[in-house]
């Protein structure tokens, strides 16, 4: 198991210890883990799903699954990889349950039929960012990510917003690095095209 640097290794040691303590029944240790990851998981879910309520649901469910499956956690794996995998899969499941009309192959045509319902939903409710002034550009970026086809969405979010390495993304999504790379590339091209007007 390779860690990118000593800092990484130290962090994972702490997390693995907390996981072990939690397994032994130490609720405070688990609360620490919740504290460490709840924002990151929310951030991941929010970018994937686009609305507050669902994102909160995913956060709750992720921790519930982590809690009840602590005995399955393998210490040789990074804790972050494990929890991200649970959260990402929950998000992907929800995305798939929606009736979307995304074309999932490399068709870059601007297709917002399916996303309309949900972008309508999210634009009506108070988003966590509503109190933050998003510049118009950032707003465009946010929308562009939201309309990413599901295939590319998770890799782009994990790569750009969570700084996971391509290797880690492969582990989280349980796919070969080559597939991850292809999807990152396509995601990049899609976003460039979507944001062409902002990127002069």
């Amino acid at each position: 198991m390779e860690f990118d640097d000593k800092g990484d290794e130290a962090v994972n040691y702490v997390e693995a210890r907390l996981a072990k303590l939690s397994l032994g029944g130490d609720r405070r240790a688990f609360a620490e883990l919740v504290e460490m990851y709840k924002d990151r998981i929310f951030h991941l879910a929010y970018r994937m799903l686009g609305n507050n309520q669902e994102s909160e649901d995913v956060v709750q469910e992720t921790f519930l699954r982590v809690f009840t499956n602590l005995h399955r956690y393998d210490e040789s794996q990074k804790f972050s990889t494990w929890i991200y995998r649970i959260a990402t899969n929950l998000c992907i499941d929800r995305l798939r349950k929606r009736k979307t009309y995304y074309s999932l192959d490399a068709d870059m045509s601007d297709n917002s039929e399916g996303s309309d319902w949900y972008s309508l939903l999210s634009s009506n409710e108070k988003t966590p960012e509503s109190h933050m002034l998003l510049s118009e550009t950032q707003e465009q970026v946010r929308k562009a990510i939201e309309t990413l086809p599901e295939k590319y969405k998770s890799v782009v979010i994990l790569r750009y917003l969570h700084d996971l390495s391509l290797q880690e993304i492969g582990e989280v999504l349980d796919m070969p690095v080559t597939t991850v790379k292809t999807r990152v590339h396509r995601g990049r091209e899609y976003l460039r095209k979507k944001l062409e007007n902002e990127l002069i």
Binding site: G25, R27, F30, A31, V34, E35, K38, D39, F42, H43, Y46, R47, N52, S55, E56, V59, Q60, F63, L64, F67, T68, T127, P128, E129, M132, L134, T137, Q138, V141, R142, I145, V156, Y160, L161, L166, K181, V184, H185, R188, L191, R192, L195, E196, E198, L199
Partner: protein
């Protein structure tokens, strides 16, 4: 829009997975190709913008709320679950208990005189002594527990005395082994041998 052969290099650059040679090749191309240069710069800006998207966090979802939604701490794993998780150990434990149980039962019987043998027709028992009278033959093994054995006749087999004593007269003739066992491990070992013998029949 963009030169097809160069696009993969651009991606390699942004993956941070590009060799020095490839990087040089890319630079040279970008210097001369306007379309690619624009494309590359767009990718650069796009990456920067995306990375800079502010992180969202839900103030509504506190650690406390999350912890409260978790099931109550599991009590010590119940015996049932332990058995489920360790089938081999459970079976071994049950087996050992049974064996110990049967040993203990046998152990308990040791105060009583026990005479075992295939042919006991001519055996005489008086008090705590088992006699093989002179001139008589025992066809088979003779096992006596918690008693004395006096052999004056013939035994066509082994004689085993457990927690007792054996006296052989000059007229005695035992064709097999004479074993004297006392309490303790010898006894256990003997029992195990007996058990194996039983199985092998």
């Amino acid at each position: 829009m963009v030169c097809k052969e160069v696009l993969p290099l651009m991606h390699k650059h942004f993956d941070e997975d590009i060799t020095a040679a490839e990087s040089a090749e890319l630079s040279i191309h970008l210097r001369t190709c306007e379309a690619c240069r624009r494309y590359f710069q767009q990718l650069e800006r796009m990456e920067a913008l995306v990375r800079m998207l502010p992180k969202t966090s839900s103030s509504g979802l506190s650690t406390e709320r999350i912890m409260n939604s978790l099931p109550p701490a599991r009590k010590r794993i119940s015996l049932y679950r332990w058995i489920k998780r360790h089938p081999a150990a459970s079976v071994a434990a049950v087996f050992i208990c049974l064996m110990l149980g049967s040993f203990l039962v046998l152990w308990d019987e040791n105060s009583q005189l026990v005479v075992k043998g295939a042919d006991l027709e001519h055996i005489v028992i008086r008090g705590d002594t088992v006699y093989v009278p002179a001139g008589k033959t025992v066809n088979g093994d003779l096992i006596v527990q918690s008693g004395k054995v006096q052999v004056e006749g013939d035994v066509k087999g082994d004689v085993v005395v457990i927690d007792g004593s054996i006296y052989m007269a000059s007229t005695a003739h035992i064709s097999g082994h004479v074993t004297s066992i006392n309490q303790g491990f010898e006894w256990i070992w003997f029992k195990v041998q007996e058990w194996f013998r039983l199985i092998s029949k």
